[in-house]
């Protein structure tokens, strides 16, 4: 009885299952692993924002990343390309798996035989949120990949504090925005 009840509760917390989340997470970790084993660099995604600005701005804050800016562009292009491979395969239905439930948010649109996915989250939320993310991740020394994946994997106390802070604040803000009736 208790067991059935807890299974039902778990199912409610994970209405889309967990397999694609866990597999995707392991792949994210493997991507970091491949780069780290070859180079000893624990790659995060948000430094790219500042290192790329060093191409167009002479500010000291950006120029300090000059030496890493080329590979960070390549890393980001790799991320875009990897997600595009997903779009060309699973998202477009060329590959399918019981471990991959497919998108049930946003809008799927067919463009010349390729299925693209479009968000319905309003542009102002993306833009304003983006500004705060640009400020916060750089001031706070990392984002979900730098602190959340590489930092936590390093058992770094700064990253534990960073993750706890942005996770709790984000939960509060998302709940507030939802309560105010902003959707999507």
């Amino acid at each position: 009885m208790t067991a059935t009840l807890s299974i039902a509760m778990v199912a409610e917390l994970f209405p889309n299952g967990i397999s694609h989340y866990a597999i995707g997470g392991i792949l994210v970790g493997l991507g970091v692993t491949v780069i780290y084993l070859g180079t000893a660099i624990p790659a995060g995604a948000s430094t790219f924002l500042e290192s790329t600005l060093s191409y167009v701005s002479g500010l000291s804050r950006f120029q300090q990343y000059r030496v890493s800016r080329d590979w960070r562009v390549v890393f980001t292009l790799g991320i875009v390309a990897g997600a595009a491979v997903y779009a060309l395969t699973f998202q477009s239905g060329i590959l399918s798996s019981g471990l991959q439930p497919g998108a049930n948010t946003g809008e799927l649109r067919d463009v010349g035989g390729i299925t693209i996915w479009l968000t319905e989250v309003q542009p102002w939320r993306l833009f304003l949120g983006g500004i705060l993310i640009g400020i916060g991740t750089r001031l706070g020394k990392g984002c979900t990949s730098g602190h959340g994946v590489c930092g936590v994997g390093s058992a770094s106390s700064a990253s534990f504090v960073g993750v706890a802070t942005f996770l709790l604040v984000a939960i509060g803000v998302a709940q507030l925005v939802m309560a105010m009736g902003v959707n999507p």
């Binding site: 180079t39 875009v80 983006g130 770094s156």
Partner: protein, 155 residues
């Protein structure tokens, strides 16, 4: 300065392959969909925990395990180390500001790049915002650092 100015011919190809796996993982796990992240933050689907901690477990095994076998990375000669940052008030203030942005939009840097890859051109609003934000803090901190005495190339 970390020895990141790399000459090895396999350096950039390896970074690209790593990014490719990373980006495919973000697509496969639906993290490229801001709605899925917002659903997590609103407690409607907690799957994101498996993504972030699944990835952290893999990197943790890598970071701690490799040192048993090798001291230096083959392509750079750099010594394997952990990703450690100084814990100061910036971690909390910056983390808080990032949290507001993440909660408002459902996007974060890596997932936003991946979102572009799955065809979500609307995410360009978010990526443009991130560059604006990164510029604002860089401008502020660069000019402030020049006003103060010797600029410290921290974090």
């Amino acid at each position: 300065m970390a020895p990141e100015h790399e000459q090895h011919p396999l350096f950039l190809p390896l970074v690209f392959v790593g990014g490719l796996i990373f980006g495919f993982g973000l697509g496969f796990s639906h993290m490229a969909q801001p709605e899925v992240v917002l659903n997590f933050l609103q407690f409607e689907d907690l799957g994101l925990l498996f993504v972030m901690f699944g990835a952290a477990v893999v990197t943790g095994i890598t970071f701690f395990g490799i040192k048993q076998f090798r001291r230096e990375a083959p392509l750079t000669g750099a010594v394997y180390g952990r990703r450690l940052k100084t814990l100061d008030k910036n971690v909390v203030i910056g983390g808080g500001i990032f949290g507001v942005g993440w909660g408002l939009s459902g996007i974060c840097p890596g997932a936003a790049y991946a979102s572009l890859g799955v065809g979500n051109v609307v995410i360009l609003y978010g990526i443009a915002g991130m560059f604006v934000g990164a510029y604002i803090q860089g401008y502020w901190r660069s000019t402030r650092a020049e006003g103060d005495a010797p600029a410290t190339a921290a974090d």
